[in-house]
Symmetry: C2
Subunit: 134 residues, 2 copies
């Protein structure tokens, strides 16, 4: 818990210092970028990111207000919508990764060997619910 908080805090600080949005935006942009043109439904984002439903709802509103994502009505479900990342959103994600990735490299990559990283990843994977695949 202590380590995760520390890493999180440092990564957030690095983003802030670069005038970039908070990490939560990255998580969403990342998922949407991986999803590609088809986009994702908000409820799929809540599943993948571990943000609460109301949190995703508001996060998306902010992202849309900034032009980083767009919401499209979905054909076969009148309740829902599909969210797709825009070019600007992709660009923002790229800039965030430059900073976020550097933080990870500095705080984690440079402190553990590749074997140790693999070991850590395997151990943490066992704590996931449901257990990580592989």
């Amino acid at each position: 818990m202590r380590v995760s908080r520390q890493l999180l805090e440092r990564a957030e600080d690095a983003l802030k210092d670069s005038g970039l949005p908070p990490l939560a935006w990255y998580d969403v942009l990342h998922e949407l970028a991986e999803a590609g043109e088809g986009g994702l439904r908000p409820f799929q984002l809540t599943e993948r990111t571990l943000f609460a439903q109301y949190n995703i709802s508001r996060l998306l509103a902010r992202l849309e207000a900034d032009g980083l994502v767009e919401k499209l009505p979905v054909a076969d479900d009148g309740r829902g919508q599909t969210v797709r990342v825009t070019d600007k959103g992709r660009e923002t994600r790229r800039r965030m990764w430059a900073v976020y990735g550097r933080s990870i490299a500095e705080l984690v990559g440079s402190r553990l060997s590749n074997d140790e990283l693999d070991a850590l990843s395997a151990l943490l994977g066992r704590l996931r619910v449901p257990p990580a695949p592989e």
Copy 2:
């Protein structure tokens, strides 16, 4: 990050379900309990818990309002105060630990062997800033 968020969320849920305060209270009560009769200065709590200064200030106000801690003036520094856990605070911490500890056992202890726990602890310790002792 994903694992830590998941663990945190589950532990918070368990506390809430038992009608107990959030985890942040536990962190502070724990530090104060370890500090004993002498208590701690608020700024020492900010160092040990990784909460921001203003956060500790308000957290202590809530804890005091609930009678879990008491603030005493400190003799040789007119700016400061010493915070000490009360009996009620100790009792609350005990009750929280019953729930929190069970969560840890369930979510972590039961999923990894003792050797694996040691390995995980050692790896994470290397990520601490400053690096964990030992």
